[in-house]
């Protein structure tokens, strides 16, 4: 109990003694962890978006303007009997036009420029496995009466690619910041070990156990890491609260909403990584600077 008290008071003294370094350490740690948390969120976001969109994804088979009734009904039976297909919906020119009108209701010029009947009729096909587009494409590509076959998945993939590269950039930034944070932790621990070298020498001399000598230093780094993760979490929460739910509302409505639960889930991740990485760095540093 008393030793615990000693260790904890040493931690506080240690953090305070070198306060500018401590602040630098906490800030870099916080930025790095925030980046990590952001990319984690992005990852979960992309995942849930994929779930959401891929479920509703269709292959659109647009028909020729001169398609005959026979060709159309033959294609329909063929599609309905296809083992790759889960569901087939026919969309007439009329329906396509209605959909077009509601979709671009706020662009009347565009709507006026397009006349009913100009938009092609199509079969909207849901696949049992959305990955099997290629097979469908190959199978029906040369069928009479078909103009083009469009995989909506491809369009979504572009969006996901962009989100994916944003996520990668955040991860890259997180790791660069993490290196800076690690160096700062190592440096802070060195300075701390140096400023306590007399105490450490005496402790070693009289036979204090290694964990007892090292614990204050390691905990000092862990506390800084945890404070960093709290700040990073506050930053993420502010980002979610003020930007995503605030000024960027319109954009985020387009994507799936980010829940507070997901944001909250990032805290243990950031705290865990922050604490653990600091502890390991401190411990490794001490291996070199506090030889027994």
């Amino acid at each position: 109990m008393q030793r615990l008290k000693y260790v904890l008071s040493e931690v506080m003294v240690g953090l305070w003694r070198n306060v500018t370094m401590t602040i630098a350490m906490i800030i870099t740690m916080a930025v790095s962890l925030a980046m990590l948390g952001a990319s984690g969120l992005m990852y979960m976001q992309v995942d849930s978006m994929k779930d959401f969109y891929y479920k509703n994804i269709e292959v659109a088979i647009f028909l020729d303007a001169e398609v005959t009734d026979a060709q159309r009904s033959e294609l329909e039976t063929q599609l309905k009997g296809d083992p790759l297909v889960r569901e087939v919906i026919y969309e007439s020119k009329q329906q396509a036009y209605e959909k077009f009108k509601t979709m671009y209701a706020d662009a009347p010029d565009l709507v006026n420029a397009v006349k009913e009947g100009q938009l092609p009729e199509s079969f909207r096909v849901r696949l049992k496995d959305p990955e099997q587009f290629k097979q469908i494409f190959d199978k029906y590509e040369n069928t009479e009466g078909i103009e083009t076959i469009v995989d909506q998945r491809r369009l979504l993939d572009k969006i996901f690619n962009i989100l994916g590269s944003v996520q990668n950039m955040a991860l890259a930034a997180a790791s660069v910041m993490a290196i800076a944070a690690l160096l700062l932790v190592g440096n802070t621990i060195q300075v701390a070990a140096y400023s306590k070298r007399r105490e450490v020498a005496v402790m070693k001399l009289v036979g204090a156990s290694n964990w007892f000598i090292q614990a204050p230093f390691v905990l000092e780094a862990v506390v800084a890491g945890l404070i960093g993760s709290i700040i990073a979490f506050a930053g993420l929460a502010a980002f979610k609260g003020f930007l995503l739910d605030g000024s960027l509302r319109d954009l985020t409505d387009l994507l799936t909403r980010l829940s507070w639960g997901d944001v909250l889930l990032m805290f243990p991740l950031m705290a865990g990584v922050g604490g653990l990485v600091s502890a390991i760095t401190a411990w490794v540093t001490l291996r070199f600077y506090l030889r027994v």
Binding site: Q2, R3, Y6, R198, E199, A201, V202, M203, K204, L205, V206, G207, A208, S209, N210, F212, I213, V292
Partner: protein, 226 residues
């Protein structure tokens, strides 16, 4: 109590060994001087006994335990059975005499209550009664060394190692410190002292082991500096 068996220690980058095939036995309760010129390797013996350095060859046995093959995590516990004083005292400047001694107890897990009972006693023993709450800079060199002796002895070690404990002290003060070490020796503690202070060695008339260029050249039961 202490056995050195054919111990050779060569420091990295050194051209010749600091200790060369040294064998020496010390019984429980003995008082032994290791003497010799600077660089003769006598301080290396203290470092070996504390397991601060490990020998290249040979065996070091302390308290019946082979120090050479000791696992590193056992070293701290092992050191609790050894007290140590140095030429430069090694006190913590921001702690009082009492706190310096109590610190040594607290960091090995003794409670404050134990410290309150034991520390004044040992400070009294070394002749610092009434000066418990002075800081090192408020004490004379001899008094600082007494604090160091108190810190080394507070744990009642079986062995007390002293590395030139009088090196920074004037002759009269040195004699006082020697009287103190002698008293500690009389409680049954084995004392090993490294020195090149001929005056003291000649006065004490204890066992003298002389080292020159890493070899024992003399081992005399009631020796003089010579």
């Amino acid at each position: 109590m202490i056995q050195l068996e054919n111990v050779t220690k060569t420091y990295p980058k050194a051209s010749r060994p600091s200790l060369d095939q040294v064998s020496c036995g010390i019984e429980k309760g003995e008082f032994v001087f290791f003497i010799g010129p600077s660089g003769s390797g006598k301080s290396t013996i203290i470092k070996l006994l504390l397991h601060e350095v490990t020998p290249n060859q040979g065996k070091v046995v302390v308290n019946g335990r082979d120090v050479t093959s000791m696992r590193s995590w056992k070293i701290p516990h092992f050191r609790r059975s050894i007290g140590c004083v140095f030429q430069d005292f090694r006190l913590l400047p921001n702690r009082t005499a009492y706190e310096n001694v109590a610190f040594a107890l607290e960091v090995i897990g003794k409670t404050k209550a134990v410290a309150r009972r034991v520390v004044p006693e040992v400070l009294e023993l070394v002749g610092l009664g009434g000066k418990e709450h002075r800081y090192p800079h408020e004490l004379s060199g001899g008094e600082q060394q007494r604090v160091a002796v108190a810190r080394a002895f507070v744990n009642r070690p079986l062995i007390l190692l002293a590395d030139e404990p009088t090196g920074n002290l004037d002759p009269d003060t040195s004699i006082e410190i020697m009287r103190l070490l002698d008293r500690i020796n009389r409680t049954g503690t084995t004392v090993v002292m490294v020195t090149h202070d001929s005056n003291i060695v000649n006065q004490m008339r204890r066992r003298v082991v002389e080292i020159e260029s890493g070899r024992i050249v003399r081992d005399q039961a009631r020796g003089v500096y010579g």
